[in-house]
Symmetry: C2
Subunit: 243 residues, 2 copies
DNA sequence: CGCAACATTGAAGCTTCTCAATTAAGGTGG
DNA sequence: CCACCTTAATTGAGAAGCTTCAATGTTGCG
């Protein structure tokens, strides 16, 4: 793993436009935060950057901080005694890291090909949520979205063949990208085949074979290793929980 | 499915001792609710009972209500086009149903061998959370627990052999029972082998074979179809993510 | 340019699924 | 209370799919 000591706590300004807790745009859903609330959030936030594969925190570290991703992608994973790894989730711009009731992080968080985050001290955030109920309301909304995402993951893992899982994964990535304002169709895959395999509970060779097969069947086009164009959304969707 | 028209909206009193939102005991974790808050919650709650296999709501129904389980177990599941079913979760006394940002329920909720719930109108609850931030704080805690539970489920689904999944499932059931004040060891299984299979992404025959094998290896004793005694916690735990 | 990490492809083996038959359990009505 | 009928659970054998082991090809970074 490339370990670049690239943490930059130097940038003081909170990138509010990309930080979902603070973003006025995101908060339109539930009424916007007052300037005072935004200001208080800015005071406790610290922006950091992480390089390719660099860890934000490790499984078991005391969970004193939470994060809001402002750019890039983060991989949450746990490793099991047998040496295997389960990727619990991929998080993208706008997503929140830190919904856990435990003293220490239940997963390792690593940047997938570079990422920027806003870091909050859990204690600071707790003080602010007590003071400003709207912030807590926003957190509950984000936790609810997290639950939906985990349940989608459960359905992906539990049902169907390897090819169905990979199809569902591609469609989910596409959908999530569109939802955060990115492009829908040439799907960009920041993660490796092994990451995808550990997310879907498959061997990485199997994932690779599924990509090849989906391309041969004309459902996708592998434009490059990390860019996949969906050629037939409906067929892929049917495939992902039909055949 | 046995369809008993057993819904009893007749009982007006809120069983606060078993309703985690309202339970003073549960709220000790985060400071207790004021009598006024409890009273308001009681006003909007309605207690209902459901018989064996009876549905509280179906996938796609407008999600106008949320529930808090006061007795029994509920199975949340989605069915896929190919006819297969994924059980997204089993919920027990104290658990909350309704963390979803969608207009309609993303899953079907059914009683597993009889259950009692407190039903709340989502709109009523929203009014109360606006008025009483402590209630929202409590909801966030419950949502966080839900996320942890979903992630445990993800790890169970993604990793290991069928026997490892079944071992992990038994240990998780035991732990959850102990956590809500029930017995830890002879694990009671309210659900069928098929329910377990659909939860773990296996065929029900495979689940059955795993029970038999775990018994033959001396790790468990099947006291009856629905009661399993764990004879060797450590071996089962090692087994569940080692071998 | 060269090395190291990532990805693809092939073949053999093994786990799980599917299909099928049998046994056990649970609930209903006589 | 027992017999019956339906549902649930167990067990077996064969087929399918995934994983593992192994080799080769590709990409990207220093």
């Amino acid at each position: 793993m490339t370990k670049m000591a690239s943490t930059k706590s130097a940038s003081f300004a909170l990138d509010a436009s990309r930080c979902l807790i603070c973003s006025a745009k995101a908060l339109n859903m539930c009424g916007s935060l007052e300037p005072e609330e935004l200001s208080r959030l800015s005071q406790i936030a610290r922006c950091e950057s992480f390089g390719n594969g660099e860890a934000l925190f490790h499984e078991g570290d005391p969970a004193k901080t939470v994060y809001n991703i402002t750019d890039g992608a983060i991989r949450l994973s746990t490793s099991l005694k047998n040496g295997r790894r389960q990727v619990v989730g991929f998080l993208f711009t706008g997503d929140f890291i830190g919904f856990s009731d435990r003293e220490s992080f239940p997963w390792t968080g690593e940047a997938v090909r570079g990422a920027k985050v806003c870091r909050f001290s859990r204690a600071d955030l707790a003080r602010i949520t007590t003071e400003f109920p709207k912030v807590e309301h926003r957190l509950l909304e984000m936790a609810t979205a997290d639950i939906a995402s985990a349940q989608d993951h459960i359905v992906m893992l539990g049902q169907g063949s390897a090819a169905e899982k990979v199809s569902a994964f591609l469609l989910a990535l596409s959908r999530k990208s569109a939802k955060r304002g990115g492009i829908e169709n040439p799907v960009h895959l920041p993660m490796t085949r092994e990451d995808i395999a550990d997310y879907l509970g498959l061997a990485f060779e199997t994932v690779s074979r599924c990509f090849t097969r989906l391309e041969n069947e004309g459902l996708i086009a592998i434009e490059s290793t990390r860019v996949v164009r969906i050629k037939d959304f409906e067929a892929l969707a049917d495939f992902s929980d039909d055949e």
